[in-house]
């Protein structure tokens, strides 16, 4: 976040002026998303086609045995892989613009159908992990700020940095191991989280008993940065003179009174959480592997390895779009709060 620490001030003199400049900024900022999306489209299109190997051979011969050239050619024709690169790219872009995302090359089913269930799962894990991260970060960050440079502060920092240092797959292995061992010790029979996803409205208990573990593992991991942000943001507030002098009277009371400052100070925290949420939507590649979650991350890896161009392209564009949009919202918030951005950029 390049401008995470812009001074925040509200220009209240000219309300209509704000609206016009804001509108202009929003449009400008929206237009800037186009080259990002286009660039990502070019990048993933070329990357996928540079990976050696092809989906047809993989599908027809990787189980062993030989395959006739005719069959291979036929398969390529079906998938449109025999067309010139530019035509393939054009079809891809046209699909994006018209929201016709096409079919997975691997399963030949509409991409939208393929990802529906997985999107649900990934979204739920992302939300639960974000909540976990916030639940860890806000109290711990506050505590660390209040007890700055004491052993409490050090403990909080150690705890959160340890979270980000632990490989998620390792944490996953440990969690599964711990569940198995403790359930066996307590109930005599080993219990293990469900391996099949059921939407939360069908069976909340079953659903949560499966997803709570990856959410905890990921949430803990992602709480590190948010904790840190909370701590610094609060410290800044605490450093304000009037807060400092009022400290004797009780900190929390003052924080509540000084709502405006707190809100501004927490903006970076919201930014971090927002951007991490965007990453979570497409980035749980390894964790999903460990917990056998049928989510977008697993699909991502499988599509790359299967040479499923259509699916990989779609997933990348989706993640990039979510990311760009989150950034857009964050930037708009900053611009709203800091008029200088509207004029200088």
């Amino acid at each position: 976040m390049g401008h995470g620490r812009q001074a925040v001030a509200l220009d209240q003199t000219n309300i209509t002026g704000i609206w016009t400049t804001m509108l202009r900024y929003v449009i400008k900022r929206l237009l800037l998303m186009i080259p990002t999306l286009f660039g990502a489209a070019v990048l993933i299109f070329l990357l996928m086609r540079t990976i050696p190997g092809d989906i047809c051979y993989l599908r027809l011969a990787a189980g062993g045995g030989s395959v006739v050239q005719d069959v291979l050619n036929n398969c390529r024709r079906e998938l449109g892989l025999d067309e010139p690169m530019l035509m393939q790219f054009w079809a891809f872009i046209k699909g994006l613009v018209t929201f016709d995302f096409g079919k997975s090359m691997w399963t030949n089913r509409p991409i939208v159908d393929e990802i529906a269930l997985r999107f649900q799962l990934s979204l739920q894990v992302a939300i639960m992990a974000t909540l976990t991260a916030i639940l860890i970060a806000i109290p711990l960050g506050t505590l660390a700020a209040v007890k700055q440079n004491t052993w409490v502060d050090y403990f909080v920092r150690t705890f959160t940095i340890a979270g980000i240092a632990m490989p998620s797959f390792w944490l996953g292995i440990l969690i599964i191991l711990a569940i198995l061992v403790t359930s066996k010790a307590w109930f005599g029979v080993p219990w293990m989280p469900p391996i099949r996803y059921v939407p939360i409205w069908q069976d909340p208990w079953y659903n949560l008993s499966m997803l709570i573990w990856p959410a905890l593992a990921t949430g803990y991991r992602y709480s590190a940065v948010a904790t840190r942000m909370t701590r610094s943001a609060l410290l800044e507030v605490l450093r304000e003179d009037y807060v400092r002098t009022a400290r004797a009277k009780g900190l929390y009371e003052k924080l509540v009174i000084n709502r405006h400052a707190l809100r501004n100070a927490l903006l970076p925290v919201v930014t971090v959480v927002g951007i991490e949420f965007a990453f979570l939507m497409g980035g749980l590649v390894v964790t999903e592997q460990v917990f056998n979650l049928n989510g977008l991350g697993k699909l991502f890896v499988e599509s790359v390895l299967n040479h499923d161009y259509a699916m990989t392209q779609f997933l990348v564009m989706m993640v990039v779009a979510i990311f760009a949009f989150t950034n857009f919202v964050v930037d708009i918030c900053y611009a709203w709060l800091d008029p200088r951005i509207r004029y200088t950029r």
Binding site: N74, E78, I115, L117, M192, Y197, Q289, N292
Partner: protein, 533 residues
């Protein structure tokens, strides 16, 4: 060329039948229950004619009937194919060139439409003579078929170009689902996305990437079957989780094969609730040196590489950590055509004295001027058993002073490498369904084989292989097989074999009626499986 193989099948059948007799008499099957099992991968489509993966067989085969199949109670017996929708296994007429099958009467597809010879005809037309735009994966295996006809509603006739013992096993491939002609006529590719067969189970639900379920088909043609009310195939990529799923009773089995340690853990945790079935597996890893690349064009170097490998010692250790076990030559172990231990031990790489063997390997390398040989082993990035065996081989080669790095790739790039010849030595594999050494060993024929990536041609072994397929005399076949094997593995060391795979299926003891076989492709229609609870 291969017509006399059918003669061989008879003594073979005897050999296997003896093994089959020892099995205890089965209990009376019970009705009911839903069988849950885990599958390591999701099939790309539902079309058995098009796909080649076991991931299609496990969840999809229960929906379909086939013309003939291996006997579910004796699946490894190459002479005991049985009718699924035909009435009787035919005897070849017209000098072994014509096979006439009678189709059962009153068969119905799951949608209620009748299944007649027209549907069988449409099915095999699609498999053997696919129309433009249709992919058929096993077209080549049935290339001996000249025509398929359906003279009347319950007769189907296959005419071969020449007599071939490979025809019946090829016909029995588990992928040859009987499709409905009406559906195929409406849309030749309908079956890629949809399921509609006449098998023991009716398609119920597919959740992308998660599971496929089936419900009992009440009009199934095998009376009283299936015993199950339904099944649920759950996709789980991570092996540990599949094991834990069996342990936590979220699944009764996994039908591909689990490593020995997982078997031991399950048995230790669940005791008599777990039943383990094991079998040698008709799959093997092959070390394939690139003959077009120096110094692997030199037979001395290739021989040194196989001489360095302590197979007898390795078998014991690796069988504890990987899904491999038996030391063998190019023929499926214990098969009448396979080399005996004595015969094996005469070949390079199988000598009982590993010290002597490695000394010879060093001598050969020195003679070839390759004492400081370094190379890269191309492998698949799959643990069981590829990278484990690869890692073991590298340690074996290190002991004759050869330094090897492993380059394990995802399957796509791995095959791209093999096909382009851009590798030093590759760890390839040969995995077949029904044991049929005469055709399985064609992998070692070199470039002519089509799926051999070692880039060699050798007219001598081609001649032997032809001769082997043209003689009816088993002793002669055996002799020729030894000669073929000696040249391929020892004299020229075109390929070398690590260990044969070993299929370990630990399943919940309440799952009954399922028999392990030498292939994870066969025997998974589940019509004879039942739950004892």
């Amino acid at each position: 060329m291969k017509w006399k193989t059918s003669v061989l099948a008879i003594p073979l059948a005897a050999a296997f039948a003896v093994a089959g007799l020892g099995a205890p008499q089965a209990q009376e099957p019970k009705r009911g229950g839903v069988l849950k099992f885990v599958v390591p991968d999701e099939p790309p489509s539902f079309d058995g004619h098009r796909e080649t993966t076991f991931a299609l067989i496990h969840p999809i085969a229960p929906f379909y009937s086939v013309l003939i199949r291996p006997d579910p109670q004796d699946p490894d017996n190459p002479a005991k194919f049985q009718c699924d929708i035909c009435t009787e296994m035919p005897t070849a007429t017209d000098g072994g060139k014509t096979f006439t099958f009678k189709i059962r009467q009153g068969l119905k597809f799951h949608d209620g439409t009748p299944l007649t010879s027209a549907d069988v005809l449409a099915t095999f037309q699609r498999i053997i003579f696919p129309k433009e735009g249709i992919s058929s994966a096993r077209q080549a295996q049935l290339s001996m078929v000249e025509s398929v006809t359906a003279p009347d509603a319950d007769t189907i006739v296959f005419k071969l170009k020449h007599p071939s013992g490979a025809f019946i096993p090829a016909l029995a491939a588990p992928f040859h689902f009987i499709y409905s002609k009406a559906k195929l006529d409406a849309d030749p590719r309908w079956y890629e996305q949809n399921v509609m067969g006449s098998g023991p189970f009716v398609f119920d639900v597919r959740e992308a990437g998660a599971r496929i379920t089936g419900k009992r088909y009440d009009n199934y043609h095998h009376k009283g079957q299936p015993y199950l009310d339904g099944f649920e195939a759950i996709f789980a990529k991570t092996q540990t989780l599949r094991v834990q799923a069996i342990r936590g009773d979220q699944a009764a089995a996994e039908f591909r094969g689990l490593p020995p340690k997982s078997r031991d853990d399950l048995v230790a945790a669940l005791g008599k609730d777990i039943t383990v079935q094991e079998s040698d597996w008709n799959c093997l890893l092959i070390t394939s040196p690139n003959h077009e690349r120096k110094p692997f064009d030199d037979a001395r170097v290739r021989r040194a590489l196989t001489l360095a490998v302590d197979r007898w010692g390795g078998a014991e250790a690796l069988s504890k950590i990987a899904i491999v076990k038996t030391v063998g030559g190019i023929v499926f172990p214990n098969h009448p055509l396979a080399a005996t231990k004595d015969e094996l031990q005469k070949m390079a790489g199988y000598w009982p004295d590993i010290k002597k063997s490695r000394a010879e390997a060093r001598r050969l390398l020195k003679e070839a001027g390759q004492e400081n040989l370094k190379f890269t082993l191309a492998n698949r990035a799959v643990d069981q058993p590829y990278t484990i065996v690869g890692t073991w081989l590298i340690d074996q080669w290190k002991q004759i002073g050869v330094e090897v790095t492993q380059k394990a790739e995802a399957t796509g790039p791995f095959y791209a490498q093999l096909r382009s010849g851009n590798f030093d030595v590759a760890l390839d594999f040969n995995c077949q369904s029904v044991v049929n050494p005469l055709s399985d060993t064609s992998k070692f024929l070199g470039t002519k084989a089509g799926d051999q990536y070692g880039r060699y041609t050798n007219p001598k072994i081609e001649a032997i292989h032809d001769k082997m397929n043209q003689t009816a005399d088993v002793a002669e076949q055996r002799k020729l097989m030894r000669e073929f094997e000696r040249i391929v593995l020892d004299e020229e060391a075109h390929n070398s074999i690590s260990l044969w795979w070993y299929r370990i299926i630990p399943h919940r003891s309440y799952m009954k009626g399922w028999k392990v076989s030498s292939s994870h492709y066969i025997n998974n229609q589940l019509d004879v499986v039942w739950i004892d609870k």
